[in-house]
């Protein structure tokens, strides 16, 4: 089990120097673009673009190693959509000519009563694109956290104001602390896994009831120690006057540079262009999906 290591790391890169807002806008545009397309090829291009940004940020590939678990999600989507896609019923007015193609049957022909439960090519394809959306979003998200110093993120969020309303500092603190604790909990998880395996617990058997029982030996120690360390954290906060009724100051000031204007404009243009391409021209949208409504 690879440790999830998404903690800020210091590096002199273009992405690191960007304003937190620009990077949040990047996350939002990835969400928008991934939602606009549902054709695997287009989503693959989006994923390549995100990898490009990660390379620009000089993020070492091993930080993304834990992403292999996404392969299971993709596989799950492909199979479930392959089976159930055609049973969703109302597809609206689909003008394009096509026919459902059966890839294979989950209940094979040689089995009694077979063949049953067909896996449909178009459904599997759609499932694949849903999986790729998850991959795209999961790849983009760590870029914000890995390249932005937590206190810069906190600083930015505390500057956000709508009229006289601000985001309460407590919320911001919870938000940024949660990120900080992901690697800690992940490490805790690994150590617990080692300790339980050492006393003969076998993870990954075929008996589901036994597996649930076995998982309690993992989750109970991890949850208990997380709760205890959260309690310790509150004590540490109190001793450092958390919530003192004065204006907070920050050592790091985050500056909005010229590059931020450029990147912001570029992101908005790309996102809008993708939306127009998909919704008005139907590029990157599978012909047999309800999303195609023109």
């Amino acid at each position: 089990m690879p440790t999830i290591d998404i903690q800020y790391f210091k590096e002199e890169s273009f992405v690191h120097r960007l304003h937190p807002f620009t990077k949040i806008l990047f996350e939002i545009s990835v969400l928008v673009i991934a939602a606009a397309f549902n054709e695997p090829l287009f989503l693959a291009v989006v994923i390549l673009g995100i990898i490009g940004v990660a390379v620009l940020a000089r993020i070492p590939a091993r930080k993304f190693r834990y992403m292999w678990v996404l392969a299971y999600i993709v596989l799950f989507m492909v199979i479930t959509q392959g089976v159930w896609f055609t049973s969703f019923g109302d597809f609206g007015d689909i003008t394009v000519d096509f026919e459902w193609r059966t890839l294979f049957h989950l209940w094979p022909a040689w089995a009694p009563g077979g063949p049953r439960i067909p896996v449909i090519l178009q459904g599997a394809n759609y499932g694949f694109s849903l999986g790729l959306r998850v991959v795209a979003i999961s790849l983009a998200f760590p870029i914000l956290v890995l390249t932005t110093h937590p206190s810069d993120l906190t600083r930015f969020l505390s500057q956000v104001r709508i009229a006289s309303w601000r985001i309460p500092y407590n919320f911001i603190f919870v938000f940024t602390t949660a990120f900080r604790y992901i690697p800690t909990v992940s490490r805790e998880f690994d150590q617990t896994l080692d300790a339980q395996r050492s006393r003969g617990v076998h993870f990954g058997g075929y008996n589901p009831i036994r597996q649930i029982k076995v998982l309690t030996t993992l989750f109970v120690p991890v949850l208990t120690s997380s709760l205890l360390s959260a309690h310790d954290l509150t004590l540490a906060l109190e001793t450092r006057a958390f919530g003192a009724p004065t204006e907070r100051t920050f050592i790091h000031e985050v500056h909005w540079r010229r590059a931020d204007w450029g990147v912001t404009a570029l992101l908005i243009i790309i996102a809008v262009a993708c939306l127009v391409l998909a919704n008005s021209f139907g590029y990157g949208v599978l012909p047999y999906t309800p999303q195609r409504n023109f």
């Binding site: 190693r65 395996r197 003969g200 076998h202």
Partner: protein, 292 residues
Amino acid sequence: MPSRHLGSFSNPLENILTDQAIIETRNLSYSYPGEISALSGVDLDIRPGEFLAIVGSNGSGKTTLVKHFNGLLKPSQGHVRIDGLDTRSTRVSELSRIVGFVFQNPDHQIFAYSVWEEASFGLKLHKLSAEAVEQQTSEALRAVSLYALRDRHPRALSRGQRQRLATASILALNTPVLVLDEPTTGQDFLSRRQIMELAVELHAAGRTVLMVTHDMALVAEYATRVIVMREGAAICDATPKEVFENDEVLESTGLDLPPVAKIARGLRAYGISETTLTQSELVETLITALRH
């Protein structure tokens, strides 16, 4: 600690007579994914009945090494054999019948609602009969003096008691080899002594004990063999006395001498060259010197 019941712990005793290594590493190298090597070319033969201390500064590869002894880590190069089984092709759950591993932090393993349940968990996994579970669990809990607290919730125990509970849960498995990863860190003097006494008794009862430690006084007093790790290599494999006489090793690893050995060093200027490891040895050496 009250009287112990180590009766059934003594069956590994017969192993002492054999010369066959129970843990054997050949050209063992390991690197953590994406990082530089943590172990390089370690060759070791650990025979049944040894009391082995593994010492070295933080990050020298001690824990990485011992994690190979029950298959938690698989060698990048070379191989590790535990009682003839290659760790690459054997499940950790199977190796856990041969090598018991006590971790530094008991809170990584305690999950049950009572001391008894926690201590007997491993035995139930090994599908032993109810009587055997009953017997081995009580023996293990008595050995760490927690038998009276068997119905307590583990969270209601002190840190030292939880460490002993974690130890008991491994003891109950009755494995011929026992690995203790820094067993005395964070323990007060009394618990430290209790843990060491327990280790000594288990060793006397025929178990092979491996201890990762920073505590040189423990090494001097109990270990029969010391392996010094530095930058992923076993740079010295000798008796405690030989290690504490080896200035080169001591200097390059920053190991501190136990107080008794320090006094003995101070006495060198007065013509007493013996490196003593325990208080009684030192007293004896001094008395002999005074008489002459």
